[in-house]
């Protein structure tokens, strides 16, 4: 069931190609706009981790809106519910599909930042960067899936979702940014400074993933 929901979401994505044709260009253009706004190579190099994760957060809002828009447009979520599907399985499926899309986006953004902002990624920082990004993505995906499920099929959800998700996701932004800083060595940080953040990101991911799988049924079910 989990795998079926996840595969369905990814297949829809693969066919529509919105991730590659619209959201990635959007994320990259935000990086370019950051460069215009924060004129100066030194500032960009220092702030690159924050900018990458801000671009991530904003792009993830669009991805998650879409992932639920396809569900509600043809009543697919209702159909699943009527068919007696386990809602927590639906949650895990959508959660994982979102993680896959977000990680693809992250790779593009990090490469974009390396190219455009002149960051040099140290090999020693690579492990930290990968593990912390994965934890951050799990947490972000959980929070987004919960609130998008809640707001799905309701008028005005486009503007409501960021209001609900962004305050809750702020620990993810703080943790992911700081550990990416340590991995990049931005502002003279060393890699070891990044590890406490991995702990925070993991706790966040675990709490909201399991909280979400419990809350998802009552949220959708009516």
């Amino acid at each position: 069931m989990v795998r079926a929901v996840c595969a369905k979401d990814l297949r829809i994505e693969q066919r529509s190609k919105v991730l590659t044709s619209q959201i990635m260009p959007f994320a990259l253009v935000t990086l370019v706009l950051f460069a215009f706004a924060l004129d100066g190579d030194a500032i960009l190099e220092r702030t690159a981790p924050g900018l990458v994760w801000l671009a991530m957060l904003f792009s993830s809002m669009i991805i998650v809106q879409r992932s639920f828009a396809v569900e509600t447009a043809d009543g697919a979520l209702d159909a699943l519910r009527v068919a007696g599907a386990d809602m927590s399985a639906v949650f895990w499926g959508k959660w994982f599909a979102l993680i896959v899309q977000l990680i693809i986006l992250e790779v593009v953004l990090v490469v974009g930042a390396i190219v455009m902002f002149g960051i040099d990624l140290r090999v020693s920082g690579l492990v930290l960067l990968v593990t912390s990004s994965i934890s951050a993505t799990c947490g972000l995906s959980a929070v987004s899936t919960i609130y998008a499920g809640l707001a799905s099929g309701v008028r005005g959800r486009e503007s409501l979702l960021p209001l609900l998700v962004l305050p809750v996701a702020s620990p993810v932004l703080i943790g992911a940014t700081r550990s990416a800083e340590a991995a990049f060595g931005a502002g003279g940080t060393v890699v070891s400074e990044g590890w406490p953040w991995l702990g925070l990101l993991s706790v966040f991911a675990v709490v909201f993933s399991f909280g979400g799988s419990l809350a998802f049924g009552p949220l959708i079910d009516d």
Binding site: A151, V154, L164, P167, V168, I174, F204, P218, L219
Partner: protein
């Protein structure tokens, strides 16, 4: 469209949402808030370090206490609605009323805190864990109220908002922890000098106590009235719908 006078009005109908109990609480609240003004502005001494700026504490701390109390009540009432056998709608309305009150007093807390910070730190805002958590919590509860305003059936609204109310509680320790960890890397608290903590003498502590009691009573009064208002809004939405249906049926009967 014609507006007929509501037929349900009886001559014995009592106006408003007051009862003897709320009137008693209301009078007590007014007295205590009066005392708070007297103690806070006149009787309590100026602080050794902070001078008269400490007087802001007597309204700031009770408002933050009230706001957090209100959010705790929201979470508890949400849990009662969600996990209780009857899925009480009254619990849902208490949660909603409490969140509205909490948002108002959180706004008051933030503004008075900024004014206090401007005097003691020289800046309106500091990226400290307590302040940042409070600000994010304020925004989260605005989101909670937005969820309550979403379309859908009443039981849907109640369930959704109960879950959001409980998730907001999960958020508090995580946000606090992350901001604390973030700020601990910067170590610039010494630049801004004194913390807001003050050593309190007897009369100062008493003034603060008066404020906390006054605001607790105020919360009780507001919660009772506000949840009664929400009850009536739900009821009138119900009867309004019934009336509209009856009218539509009558029209259908005439034209058919």
């Amino acid at each position: 469209m014609t507006l007929d006078p509501p037929s349900t009005v009886s001559t014995t109908s009592r106006r408003g949402t007051a009862t003897a109990a709320t009137r008693a609480v209301g009078v007590l609240t007014i007295v205590m808030i009066g005392w708070l003004g007297v103690f806070g502005l006149l009787l309590s001494p100026a602080d050794r370090d902070q001078g008269d700026a400490v007087r802001i504490m007597y309204v700031h701390v009770p408002s933050v206490w009230l706001a957090y109390l209100a959010f705790i009540v929201t979470a508890l009432a949400s849990a009662v609605h969600l996990f209780g056998k009857s899925h009480s709608m009254q619990a849902d309305r208490v949660a909603g009323a409490s969140a509205e009150i909490g948002v108002v007093f959180m706004a008051v807390t933030l503004v008075t805190g900024m004014l206090w910070g401007r005097i003691t730190w020289g800046v309106y805002w500091q990226w400290d864990a307590r302040l940042t958590t409070t600000a994010l919590l304020f925004i989260s509860y605005i989101g909670y109220l937005a969820v309550r305003g979403l379309e859908g059936s009443r039981s849907q609204r109640a369930r959704r908002s109960a879950i959001v109310g409980l998730l907001a509680v999960l958020e508090v320790p995580l946000v606090h922890w992350s901001v604390k960890l973030w700020r601990s890397l910067h170590q610039e608290a010494t630049v801004l000098g004194t913390d807001l903590d003050v050593s309190l003498d007897g009369l100062m502590l008493f003034s603060l106590f008066v404020g906390v009691v006054a605001f607790t009573l105020l919360f009780l009064w507001l919660l009772l009235h506000r949840s009664r208002v929400l009850t009536m809004i739900d009821l009138s939405a119900e009867t309004g719908l019934d009336a509209a249906l009856a009218q539509r049926r009558a029209e259908g009967g005439v034209t058919a």
